[in-house]
C-alpha cells in the first residue's frame, strides 16, 4: 500500500512499495501521459515533478516518496494545456512523434521554476532528455519563449 499525492489528489494505492513511481502512475493511477522509455533514468521520458523538482519516475520506488510530497504529472501541469510551457510548445509546434515531449515539458517547467530566465548553457545542462525525432532546437526555442511569456505575464 502506498499513499501518494498525485496532481493534488491523495490516493491510497494497493501496490508493492518497490514498484517504480512510473508504473504506479501508468498502471494504478491510470495516468499514461508519463512515458516509459528506458527504465534506468537515462532518457527522461518519465519525468514528473516531485515538490516542483523534475524527477525521473522510472527508477524511483514509491516507497521513497512521502505522502505529503506533491507529485505532478503532465496531466496535472495545467487543467487545459494552458501552462506557459505547453503554450510555447503549441506556438512553436514542437513535437514530432511526441513520445518524449511530456518528459521534455515537465523538465522545462521545472527548469523555469528554478531559473526563470535560463540561458543556453542552463538549458543544455538541465534538459538532458532524449528525443530521437530531433526536436531539440525547437525545445530550446520554446523554453525561451515560455520564459518570456511567463515574465511578461508577471509584469503585466
Amino acid at each position: 500500500m502506498a499513499r501518494l499525492t498525485i496532481n493534488g489528489e491523495t490516493r491510497d494505492i494497493e501496490v508493492d512499495p518497490e514498484t517504480p513511481l512510473l508504473w504506479v502512475l501508468r498502471e494504478q493511477a491510470g495516468l499514461t501521459g508519463t512515458k516509459f522509455g528506458c527504465g534506468i533514468a537515462q532518457c527522461g521520458a518519465c519525468t514528473v515533478h516531485i515538490d516542483g523538482v523534475a524527477t525521473r519516475s522510472c527508477a524511483m520506488p514509491v516507497s521513497a516518496i512521502a505522502q505529503d510530497q506533491q507529485i505532478v504529472t503532465i496531466e496535472g501541469l495545467s487543467e487545459d494545456g494552458s501552462h506557459p510551457v505547453q503554450q510555447a510548445w503549441l506556438a512553436l509546434d514542437v513535437p514530432q512523434c511526441g513520445y518524449c515531449q511530456a518528459g521534455m515539458i515537465m523538465a522545462a517547467a521545472a527548469l523555469l521554476n528554478s531559473t526563470p530566465k535560463p540561458n543556453d548553457d542552463d538549458i543544455s545542462a538541465e534538459i538532458t532528455n532524449i528525443c530521437r525525432c530531433g526536436t531539440y532546437n525547437r525545445v530550446r526555442a520554446a523554453i525561451k519563449l515560455a520564459a518570456e511569456t511567463a515574465s511578461a505575464s508577471q509584469k503585466g
Binding site: P20, L31, T73, S124, R132, G134, R138
Partner: protein, 723 residues
C-alpha cells in the same frame, strides 16, 4: 471476397518489401467506389467523411510517427476538396476494411520517405472526387447544372441565384452521386491549403498526455506481458523454471512464446517484468556464440578483395583505367550496426477468440501487421483486424518485421477473449533490433595530372537488408537496395558525379545479425563513403572541395544547385570565424536532392558542431514547416549515428542494452540548423530521410579541415576525438 485477388504469400512479400521502401505497384480503383462504398452515411467517398456539422474527416492510410504525414496528406485532400481547414480531422482506416474494399486506400506502408510522394495523387483525387460529388449533390438539390456551381471553404454557391449550402448539409446526398471517372487536379501553384506551413493537426494532444500511443492502450480486463528472447542471435530457449516465478504477485501465466522467447503475463506490466527478471531461463545459445564485431569485420574485409561481386553501376572500364594510372588514391571506410532506439519500445496488444483476432499496434505498415496477426492466430485474414495507434517513433523498425505482433497474438491465444498487451523492455528492444546493416567500402581512384578523376572503383562489402526478405535476393546475391544513391541515372537516387570510368560493385556478406531498414537506409553509409572520399580526392588534387565537386557535378544541375545553396549560405567563399572549419556534402536519395555544410571546431581534442546549413529540393513541398522539422531532425538521427552510434557484437549478441551504453545525441550536442527549402517542381521526392545521409559526411569533412585527420571508421567517438 477481395482477398482472393492475391495470395497470402504474395501479399506478405509485397507488404514486407513496401515497408522498406520498395515500390509496390497497385491500382487504386476509383471507378469501383460505387460498388464498394460503405453504408456509412456521411462518407462521401473512401477518403472523405463529412458530418452534418460540417466536420470533415479525412482518412489517412499511412502512419503518423512524427514525420507529419498525417497533416500533409490531409492538406492535400483538403486542398482538392476545397473545404474549411479549421473543420478538418483525420482518422486511420483499418487494414481489414481496406481488404474488404479492394484495397481502396492503397498501400499502408510508411517507409522509404514515401508517405506523401507515393500517395499524393490518389489522395488528391479522393478529395477532388468528393468535391465534385458534393457540388453535384447541391446542383441536384437546386435543379441547376453542376457547372454553374462552385465550391470554396466548405460552401457550395450557385452564383446566378445567390444560393449557398454547406458541405455538411449535402454530404448524405453527395454520397449517392455517381463518383466521377476523371478528376482534374489543381496546379500546385494555385494551392491554398497544401504547400502552406500549417500547424500539425496532432500537436495539442501531445502536450497534455492525451495522445494514446501503443504502450498506453487500455482495454477492459486487459492483462500485461513482458518478454525475453535469447539474447544470442540464432539461440533458443532450452528450459525455464516457471515454478520459481509463477507465485509472484499478479502473475497469471508463464508462456514459451516460440522457440526463442519466454513471456510472463500478469495483471500489470511491472509485475510481469519483475517476475520475468526473477525467472531462471537456460538458453541454447546456438551456433553464433563465437561471433564478434571483429569476426564480422574480418568477414567483410575479405569481401573488399573478393573476385566475385555484383555490379551496380559500370561506365567505361574502371579497372583498366586504374591499372594504367600514374596516381591511384585508395581508402577504406566502415559503418557499424545501429539500433533504431525508438523512444517507445516495441509493443502490441491482441485479443483472440476462436473466430476473431484483433490487434492494436503502433505500426508503419498496418497490412503487414494484419498478415502477422493472421499467421500467428491461424485464422483466415478476413477474421483478423488491426487498429493502428500513434507511433512513438518508427524509423523503419515498425514496418517489415512484425514479430511483436506475432508474440502478442500467441500470448492472447493463451487467454481467449482477454486482451493482452505486450511491451518490450528497453533491453529487449536494443538486443532484438533489425539493425542498420554493417558494410565496409574500399575506393580506388585514378587522378590524372590535371587533378581530374579519370577512374573510380567503389567496392562495397557487407550486409543486405533484402536478403532475409526476398527469395530472389537470396538466389542471385543481388540486392538492388545496396546501391542507393549510387545509380547511373534515374529519378530515385542518381549518382551525381560524372566519372568516365566508374565501377560500383557489391560483395554480399551477411553476418548473423538481423538487418533492417533504418531511417535513411543504405543512403546513409553510401553518402558518407562517397562524400568523404570525394573530399579526400579534392585535397589530393589540391583543389577546393566545392570547386572539385562543381566540376564533377556538371551534368547534374539539381545535385549542384543544393550544394551551391548551402555553400552560399554558409559563406564558403569567405574565411570562417576563428577556429571554425567547414565541410560539405551532397547526395540524391528518396527522389530528392540534398546538401549540407557544417561548421565545427576542435579544441583540445574536443569536437563542437556549431552550425549546419542544409538544403533540400524534393520537387514539391506540401508543408514547409514540417519539411523543415524533418530536415532538422535528420541531423539528430544522422549525427547520433556518426558521432556515437554503434552496436558492437560479442558472444553472438549486441553488447549495448540501454541508453547508458548506446549513446545518442542530446540537447547540448545539437548544432544550430538552418534549412533551405528549394522545391523546383515537376517531381515528388521524399523529405524524412535523405538529409540524414549528408549530416555525417559534412561534419567529417569539417573535422578533416580542422584536424587534418581523415576519419574512415565510424563512429567518430572511437577516433580519439571527444564528442
Amino acid at each position: 471476397m477481395t482477398v482472393a485477388i492475391f495470395s497470402r504469400r504474395k501479399f506478405l512479400i509485397g507488404t514486407a518489401a513496401a515497408a522498406g521502401g520498395l515500390s509496390l505497384g497497385f491500382h487504386v480503383p476509383f471507378a469501383a467506389q460505387a460498388q464498394e462504398r460503405s453504408a456509412i452515411q456521411p462518407e462521401v467517398n473512401a477518403w472523405v467523411l463529412i458530418r452534418p456539422d460540417d466536420t470533415v474527416v479525412i482518412r489517412i492510410a499511412r502512419s503518423e510517427m512524427g514525420q507529419g504525414t498525417l497533416t500533409g496528406l490531409a492538406q492535400l485532400a483538403a486542398e482538392e476538396l476545397d473545404c474549411d481547414w479549421s473543420k478538418v480531422t483525420t482518422e486511420y482506416p483499418t487494414p481489414g476494411d481496406s481488404l474488404r474494399r479492394n484495397r481502396i486506400w492503397g498501400s499502408f506502408a510508411t517507409g522509404g520517405s514515401r508517405g506523401i510522394r507515393e500517395s499524393h495523387e490518389y489522395v488528391r483525387q479522393g478529395g477532388a472526387a468528393a468535391r465534385e460529388m458534393l457540388v453535384a449533390a447541391a446542383a441536384t438539390l437546386w435543379k441547376v447544372p453542376a457547372n454553374e456551381c462552385s465550391a470554396a471553404n466548405s460552401v457550395i454557391t450557385h452564383a446566378s441565384s445567390g444560393r449557398t449550402v454547406t458541405y455538411g448539409a449535402v454530404a448524405s446526398l453527395a454520397a449517392q452521386m455517381p463518383p466521377p471517372t476523371n478528376v482534374r487536379l489543381k496546379n500546385p501553384k494555385d494551392w491554398k491549403i497544401a504547400g502552406k506551413p500549417l500547424p500539425r493537426l496532432d500537436t495539442p494532444d501531445k502536450l497534455t498526455g492525451k495522445q494514446v500511443y501503443g504502450v498506453d492502450l487500455k482495454l477492459p480486463g486487459m492483462l500485461n506481458a513482458a518478454i525475453k528472447a535469447c539474447p544470442v542471435f540464432g539461440g533458443k530457449v532450452a528450459s525455464f523454471d516457471a515454478a520459481a516465478a509463477s507465485g509472484m504477485p499478479g502473475v497469471r501465466k508463464i508462456v514459451q512464446v516460440d522457440e526463442t522467447a519466454v513471456a510472463v503475463v500478469a495483471d500489470t506490466w511491472w509485475q510481469a517484468h519483475s517476475a520475468l527478471n526473477a525467472l531462471p531461463i537456460v538458453w541454447d545459445e546456438g551456433p553464433n556464440t563465437n561471433v564478434t564485431s571483429e569476426t564480422i569485420a574480418s568477414m567483410l574485409r575479405e569481401g573488399l578483395d573478393a573476385e566475385d561481386a555484383v555490379v551496380g553501376t559500370a561506365i567505361g572500364d574502371a579497372r583498366a583505367a586504374l591499372a594504367d594510372s600514374a596516381k591511384v588514391v585508395t581508402a577504406t571506410y566502415s559503418f557499424p550496426y545501429q539500433a533504431h532506439a525508438t523512444m517507445e519500445p516495441m509493443n502490441a496488444t491482441a485479443r483472440y477468440t476462436t473466430d476473431k483476432c484483433e490487434v492494436w499496434v503502433p505500426t508503419q505498415n498496418g497490412e503487414a501487421s494484419l498478415v502477422a496477426a493472421a499467421e500467428a492466430s491461424g485464422l483466415p485474414i478476413e477474421q483478423c483486424e488491426v487498429n493502428k495507434l500513434h507511433l512513438g517513433g518508427g524509423f523503419g523498425r515498425r514496418g517489415a518485421y512484425q514479430e511483436y505482433v506475432r508474440q502478442a497474438v500467441r500470448l492472447a491465444k493463451e487467454f481467449p477473449g482477454t486482451p493482452v498487451k505486450l511491451i518490450w523492455s528497453r533491453e529487449e528492444d536494443m538486443l532484438h533490433g533489425a539493425y542498420h546493416p554493417v558494410t565496409q567500402c574500399r575506393f580506388s581512384a585514378a587522378l590524372d595530372a590535371s587533378g581530374t578523376v579519370a577512374a573510380l572503383h567503389m567496392r562495397i562489402s557487407g550486409q543486405s537488408i533484402l536478403w532475409p526478405l526476398r527469395a530472389e535476393v537470396r538466389e542471385t546475391g543481388r540486392d538492388p537496395a545496396v546501391f542507393q544513391g549510387l545509380r547511373d541515372g534515374g529519378t530515385e537516387d542518381a549518382f551525381g558525379y560524372t566519372i568516365p570510368n566508374l565501377l560500383i560493385d557489391h560483395a554480399m556478406r551477411n553476418p548473423p545479425v538481423p538487418p533492417g531498414f533504418w531511417r535513411g537506409v543504405n543512403l546513409n553509409q553510401n553518402a558518407l563513403y562517397v562524400e568523404c572520399f570525394i573530399d579526400e580526392l579534392a585535397h589530393e588534387a589540391g583543389t577546393d572541395p566545392l570547386d572539385f565537386r562543381r566540376k564533377l557535378l556538371v551534368n547534374h544541375p539539381k545535385h549542384l544547385a543544393v550544394l551551391e545553396a548551402v555553400a552560399e549560405r554558409v559563406g564558403w567563399e569567405k574565411p570562417p570565424g576563428n577556429g571554425i572549419h567547414r565541410g560539405l556534402a551532397q547526395i540524391m536519395g528518396f527522389g530528392s536532392y540534398v546538401a549540407a555544410a557544417a561548421e565545427v571546431s576542435v579544441t583540445d581534442g574536443q569536437l563542437k558542431i556549431h552550425r549546419i546549413v542544409a538544403a533540400t529540393d524534393p520537387g514539391h513541398i506540401v508543408n514547409p514547416a514540417q519539411a523543415e522539422r524533418q530536415v532538422e531532425g535528420s541531423f539528430v538521427y544522422g549525427l547520433s549515428a556518426c558521432l556515437f552510434g554503434e552496436c558492437t557484437i560479442s558472444g553472438g549478441r549486441v553488447e549495448q542494452e540501454n541508453f547508458d551504453t548506446y549513446e545518442v545525441m542530446r540537447m547540448d550536442q545539437m548544432p544550430a540548423v538552418e534549412t533551405i527549402l528549394m522545391p523546383s517542381g515537376d517531381f515528388w521526392g521524399g523529405v524524412g530521410e535523405p538529409t540524414i545521409a549528408v549530416a555525417g559526411p559534412a561534419v567529417l569533412n569539417a573535422v578533416f579541415a580542422a584536424t587534418g585527420k581523415r576519419i574512415r571508421q565510424l563512429p567518430l567517438k572511437n577516433n580519439n576525438l571527444g564528442v
